[in-house]
Symmetry: C2
């Protein structure tokens, strides 16, 4: 065989390979173009509803196979998980739960009185809320650690919103009625979220904004406690930091009695010291846990023995004893504020669920089990519905008490039952003993729980990872601090969603280059080793959407780039107008496109054509290729749609150059 | 060489290749992990500002190189493009512009009177607005076809918003003052948009919502004309379809005079017939264009000769003649409504710019030149500022007159000057002749322009391509029709942005499979030929963001999928728990991730680990890999981050199986 014929054969073979490769490319391009239609939005909705329904039917039919007895048991087990875990319950477990229950009860009694005061309610309502809700949740809940009862943030939120409708000091009965109504609405909304699987609504408060919101709320709650700590009589009803500091400033510039502060301050120091020691040494843990109760008992004794109330020390005075009374007849749906109260119920429902599910999830993940969000929402919702009928206000999982419950070694929700029974006994027999309890001590107990709510480390982590997330965090924090609790929440939600919009429509394009040794095309800034192909501009749109809000910006940017160098000459004296003969748009990250986006691409194509340049699309996703086909854009650009950038470069070169 | 040694060599070579491939994969994985940090948000903002500033400085310095004379000329040419295109202006071009100018003037005079009535202003203000703004725009504008003057949608919007502040019928002077103030604010906002390059604000009204909004507004405007067409005296000030139809119904059930309707209806039929013929035959075009003016002249003559105004035909009566008076002293900034008026100015500014830029762009793209959005905004803004000082209300580019101007063969903005001069002459000498013009004819002229604003074909196209876009279109349409013009706009903007949020956070995952003959992994539904790899679950998150709003949903979905089959057995009796040993998350389309998203991935990793499964990340984008690195997620998953899905599969298999 002569050497030339060998070369010829080689050439032929190369050609063969080229042709085969081209054929393959054409076939793959057809894969893109002939993809089945994606399901339409209506279809998606219908399918998802049908799926939910068939799941439901499956469950029902799995029940119907069983006998009547097992059926009843299965039903009970679904609604009341206590029938599941209760069967394996042991005496050893009960010992742990009993201790944990007593521990949280000792923390719960002063906290309940303080939170009720924060919610502008009489002290006994806080105690009532620590009896019925924990009992209901204990039989329905799926978490094992959550301690249910009144919590600081919800108490603050509820009082700050309801007192705008009705003044708690001139009409305490009307105010209390509205609080019960709000509790009922909150419970109904929470149950509905669970039933209709709207758990995602709770996710709308982002982690970052919760961190900021809770920290801001902790400071606001702390500021509210200054009233009790200093024994101030005239205080502001506003919650923002400026009003409160002004009120404290004014009170301290009038003659005031330092006895409240001395008493409260010294016991606050005592509680904080024991907690500090408790964190250092395991042996001190129990002492730290019961130190709030010890403080209450000691200070009450001191006041009783010295009759300090005669010398200006403010005391709790009468706490109505006895079991939770019924409040069915206090729920007045003919109230003129009923629509506003429903709105308040909705906001409180979301905030309460967010706190409870966040705390439940974090301890569940430590113990390694999954929390069913929808089931949790139904349990807490039902808890609050029953609560609203038995003189309770909104209860949810408490950050501080759940942490103590876990640390005290709780095994199951039985610790909640122990706590509820303990509070019940206190209500029945011990309320008279609370008469001389100084208000400053209650304030100290609440103040001592607040530092745990301010998570500076987490805020710093958010700042490090995501500046915009930190903005939501700071917005919520300063909103709560300087405006009001609701404004803080609103700021957080608005910033969070504005961030989503900003990222989704932020216009911009990335230039892609080929990674050496691969067929991959990547951002030349992210991968500095990527090499741009001469004569071909390969672009990727930065945003995931090409829509009305960014389409014309992106179009003008590309046109500017492509036409910028026209007429000028490059280093080697060649006219630069031929610098980019082909523009390839890598649409792999484009999730969707709208009519404005398609119109923009059409204008881009027209403009490029008038400059003698080509446009090709690479790797369009399902929705995008479907819309480009339906709007005839694909046929307008001559079907130049390819599976990969590599194939687009090869395909266009074969067609043209 | 024995056959076994050949096999050994082959094996060895294969191993060699494998090792080399692995080494390469490791190197590429390092490319991903060692990417430079992306610019921080602050950095991006600073850079973009610096760029704008350096562009500006470049322009300034390019000026400073020139002599004083050329510098002045350059400056003039930038501010007044007429100095650029005016130098090539010819007599032939002027002939065309003169004819086009006269044609649009004949349409402009009756339209101006009608639109002024729509804006609850005296007729002369419409004519004033057709004199000064076109002259200013002619020297500053960059479009060649736009016909400037009062337009229907803006007139309606302005009157519907300002009449809420002050009643135009009890205090017409105060009302007119507020209109001038709103015009000034609109002009200032428009100029500011142009100066600060905020052109994207105009894009916030999506194409789809404009189609719906304009169609709805056209119907509302048409309904308002029923007052003139039927000669109704008592009419509603509301603009929604129900109020208007009720008002018309009531008026027609009282004794009414059909002469107005007969006159208006017959001339409306005449105008529509000529337009229909004009579209069919080119010869009729001129006749169609001047038919509104012919109708006005003929009907005025008829009324004057028959004294029909004595028999109940409503006429325009006195139109104040003469040049535009100054309105500087009518701008009252101490007005109590000034903040509201500024808000109205902002809304009107955006709507007016949207109309003008949309119409300008569409004709520019027909003639094949680019319209500078920012320059346009400044020109129209300056036009309105001057307008507000010379008794004009908000002017912008008109859909109907621009189309006529283009069809009449305009060559440049000189046609606007011809139109302005013609209207000026009419104002000076012919206003007395307008005394007997029937109001029904003015209503007919406006009614005849409306069908062009209702674009059913476009609405159908939107429906076909994008159902959610159509929802925005329908929302704007029905909002305008059944509520008010502002509500319609609000609905459109809210739906458009809700759509962006929905698409960005819609949770869901796609299963990927390998396309035969390639290294590519694609959605198995979009590409039915894709083959899933046994033992490996390859997922891509559907949304472009993994953030607070969808992260926990996505996490739970994946965990459910992966753990669903645990414990059960597959067809061949193997335990299915080993079915998926590896989960690969293809993050190529994930534009960003936030702290909630990262927390979610961490929980996913923990859960998978506790089931003895692995997690790997493939092809993360710049922001995503940066945040995963900063939050230590990469080190938590043992650095299992790969450039492609292919390499992730190979890498994980080599490490583990």
């Amino acid at each position: 065989m002569s050497s030339s014929s060998v070369v010829d054969t080689c050439k032929f073979e190369n050609l063969q390979v080229d042709i085969e490769k081209n054929d393959k490319d054409v076939v793959r391009s057809q894969w893109v173009l002939n993809a089945p239609d994606p399901p339409s939005p209506c279809r998606v909705v219908v399918d998802s509803m049908r799926k939910s329904f068939s799941n439901f039917r499956e469950k029902i039919s799995s029940f119907s196979d069983q006998s009547c007895g097992t059926l009843l048991l299965s039903g009970l087990q679904v609604v009341f998980p206590i029938f599941v875990w209760g069967r394996n319950y042991t005496v050893a477990k009960f010992r742990n739960d009993f201790l944990a229950g007593l521990t949280i009860a000792s923390l719960c009694i002063p906290q309940s009185i303080g939170y009720a005061t924060l919610a502008n309610l009489a002290p006994q309502y806080g105690l009532y809320t620590s009896v019925v809700p924990p009992l209901i949740y204990a039989v329905m809940g799926t978490s094992r650690e959550i301690a249910i009862g009144p919590v600081a943030v919800v108490s603050l939120l509820l009082s700050s919103m309801v007192q705008k409708l009705i003044d708690p000091f001139t009409d305490p009965i009307g105010y209390t009625k509205l609080i019960f109504l709000a509790t009922l609405f909150a419970g109904i909304f929470q149950t509905a979220f669970g039933l209709f699987r709207l758990g995602f609504l709770v996710d709308f408060l982002s982690h970052a904004s919760i961190v900021g919101f809770v920290a801001g709320a902790a400071i606001v709650i702390g500021l509210q406690q200054l009233k009790g700590l200093f024994g101030i009589t005239h205080f502001t009803t506003k919650t923002d930091i400026i009003s409160v500091i002004k009120a404290v400033w004014e009170a301290l510039h009038n003659p005031w009695n330092p006895r409240n502060f001395i008493l409260g301050g010294s016991f606050l120091a005592f509680i904080l010291t024991t907690r500090f020691l408790g964190k250092r040494k395991k042996n001190f843990f129990w002492f730290a846990s019961i130190s709030p109760l010890v403080s209450v008992i000691l200070s009450t004794l001191v006041v009783y023995l010295t009759r300090a109330d005669k010398y200006g020390v403010k005391i709790v005075k009468h706490v109505k004893g006895g079991l939770n009374p019924s409040s069915i007849h206090q729920l007045d749906f003919n109230n003129p504020h009923v629509a506003d109260v429903a709105k308040i119920g909705l906001i409180v429902a979301v905030v309460a669920l967010t706190e409870s599910i966040a705390v439940g999830r974090s301890f569940a993940s430590i113990k390694g089990y999954q929390l069913d969000g929808n089931k949790e929402m139904m349990s807490i919702g039902f808890t609050n519905i029953i609560g609203s009928l038995t003189s309770c206000y909104v209860a949810t999982g408490s950050f501080s008490r759940t942490a103590v419950n876990y640390a005290a070694g709780c095994e199951s929700l039985v610790s909640n039952i122990v706590m509820a029974v303990t509070v019940l006994i206190s209500l029945q027999f011990l309320t008279k003993l609370l008469y001389y309890t100084p208000i400053a001590i209650i304030a100290s107990v609440i103040l001592s729980a607040l530092p745990g709510l301010i998570d500076i480390n987490e805020a710093y982590k958010i700042w490090k990872v995501d500046k915009l997330d930190f903005l939501a965090c700071a917005g919520a924090f300063f909103g709560v601090l300087f405006a009001s609790v609701e404004i803080g929440l609103l700021v957080a939600v608005v910033i969070s969603f504005a961030k989503i919009i900003l990222i989704s429509i932020r216009p911009g394009t990335e230039t892609l280059g080929k990674l050496p040794g691969t067929d991959l095309f990547c951002d030349v800034y992210q991968y500095p080793m990527a090499i741009q192909i001469p004569g071909v501009m390969i672009l990727r749109i930065k945003s995931p959407l090409l829509c009305f809000a960014n389409a014309s910006f992106v179009r003008e940017r590309i046109i500017k780039w492509v036409t910028r160098d026209d007429g000028s000459e490059d280093d080697k004296g060649n006219s630069k107008s031929t610098l980019y003969q082909l523009v390839i748009l890598d649409t792999s990250n484009l999730v969707n496109i709208d009519t404005s986006g398609i119109a923009s691409l059409e204008e881009l194509y027209k403009c490029l054509s008038s400059h003698g340049k080509q446009l090709a699309i690479a790797n369009p996703r399902w929705q995008v290729i479907h819309k480009l086909k339906v709007s005839n854009f694909v046929s307008k650009i001559g079907g130049r749609v390819y599976l990969t950038v590599e194939e687009a470069v090869a395909g266009c070169k074969n067609n043209q150059f």
